[in-house]
Amino acid sequence: MPTDKEINLAIKTEVPYLNEPSANSSAGQPGPHINEAHKVVVRDLDFFYSGQQALFGISLNIVEKKVFALIGPSGCGKSTFLRTLNRMNDTIPGTSLKGSIKIDNLDIYKGIKDVSSLRTRVGMVFQKSNPFPKSIFENVAYGLRVNGIKDKRLIAEVVEETLKGAFLWEEVKDKLDHSAYALSGGQQQRLCIARALAVQPEILLMDEPASALDPLSTAKIEDLINELKKNHTIVIVTHNMQQAARVSDVTAFFYEGYMIEYGDTRKLFTKPEKKKTEDYITGRFG
């Protein structure tokens, strides 16, 4: 097990993404042209649950309108990392964080006051589908309503459009007023994706979105991800390495709170640079 410092060093010298100009961008530096592709820039991120460190010096860039996959064994910190990106960890008492996360060059911890507006820009889909105990329509409309949209016609339009975008419209258009709980597991998860999309986030975080679903529903979700990346930056946590290989452009491997390596998905799965990564993707542990 390499030490913290060694890993940081290794990341800084060996991972090509970090050596691009954006790596030394600072908040004051103008020019989106430099950072054009880098939607999210994470630097030296440490994360603590009531004093216990869960993430160690994570530094990475997430490219706009690509799918970024996080893989690693249970407890490696990939979900924790995902939840730092929309500050959902804020809801857990006793957590703290060091380092910086910038989205579009703005530090989302130090640079903004309104967490809820961040979360409308960075949507989230959870592992277990968690629709509200409301109608299908109201589930999708919820995000619009809490963001102050009252125009009924506009809401109805957005709901329809979003459900179409999530490939769910044909299945639910005749029962929009039915309870969301009446849908199947896969449909519920697509409803949750639609619900997240309704507020038009730029980034969509997905925490093992298909882990509780059957293969057919999983395939539908993966198709959807491929469609969504045309307009959204997607960060997905997955246990399923085939899934990471199928849907993602870039993959990061997390282990015990460290990011061991990250890079082009095809390369990471065929020619990983680190032994640990190779052991994991070849199924020697995890």
Binding site: S116, R145, V146, S179, E208
Partner: protein, 320 residues
Amino acid sequence: MTGIQLSPVKESSPRHNIHESFGRKSSGRIPAGLTATAVIIIAMMLFIILGNIVLNGVGVIDWKFLSHPPENGMEGGGIFPAIFGTVALVLLMTIAVVPVGVLTAIYLHEYTSPHSKVTRLIRMAINNLAGVPSIVFGLFGLGFFIGFVGNGIDTLFYADEGPVWGQPAIIWASLTLSVLTLPVVIVATEEALRTIPREIKDASLALGATKLQTIIKVVIPNSLPGILTGAILAISRGAGEVAPIMFTGAAYYLPYLPQKLNDQFMELGYHIYVMATQSPDIEATKPILYGTVLVLLLLTFMLNFSAIIIRSKMRSKNAH
């Protein structure tokens, strides 16, 4: 982070468990017998009490009994003012106790960390409040609501009149009852808040809802059945209490119904107490007494029942 993982199955010895259950099996009959006996005793008690009341009371109840005031020094007539007073008292109490109780529960559950000193202190206070004898609440109501609040209002606004608010009245009785039933509402509401899955709250927050919006749009609607349970329990408790209202507003006999918040009122429980202890001719009032007890039971039952129906309707609307 939970996923299916192929981990080596632990060799926890199944044999050991079997031996343990052998040991338990032999002693199963005695506890079952004891618990069944306890149930039978309770059921018999209930049956005797209810049977006695129903048999003796049902003949007294007719339309006149329900719709007329008492006559001939309680030996005749009906109990309408007491029914009216009880319903009014309980409704006022509910209006006062439910919002305060629900807000307290929300504060405790959503805004404080469960292990902080303040939270533990508040919880301790609530538990102690639930353990205070009801007569003490009566004295508290007399001292605080009538003596302090009521008299205070009188000296400030009605200085040149007689007592307007500084006297026993339905408002003070219902407020006293609401203090008494506050713990019930708080505990039931907290119970309901606890059942709301974290995932649903997270989903709301992740959509950009603020904490307050999440509470108003997700937490409260989904805990309404639980809140109603609290209200039901509070009503059952409140409608049966006599001690807290004895000093704070219940009247022996009133020729009129309460019209204003500072009027006195008649109440079924207190009426029963009065007829059983203060009547000059106990034998003459006995049938009326039975009838009144039966009406009180039915009224409490009806209040409960309607709340249960509302609750189950809400449940079916909310969930599946």
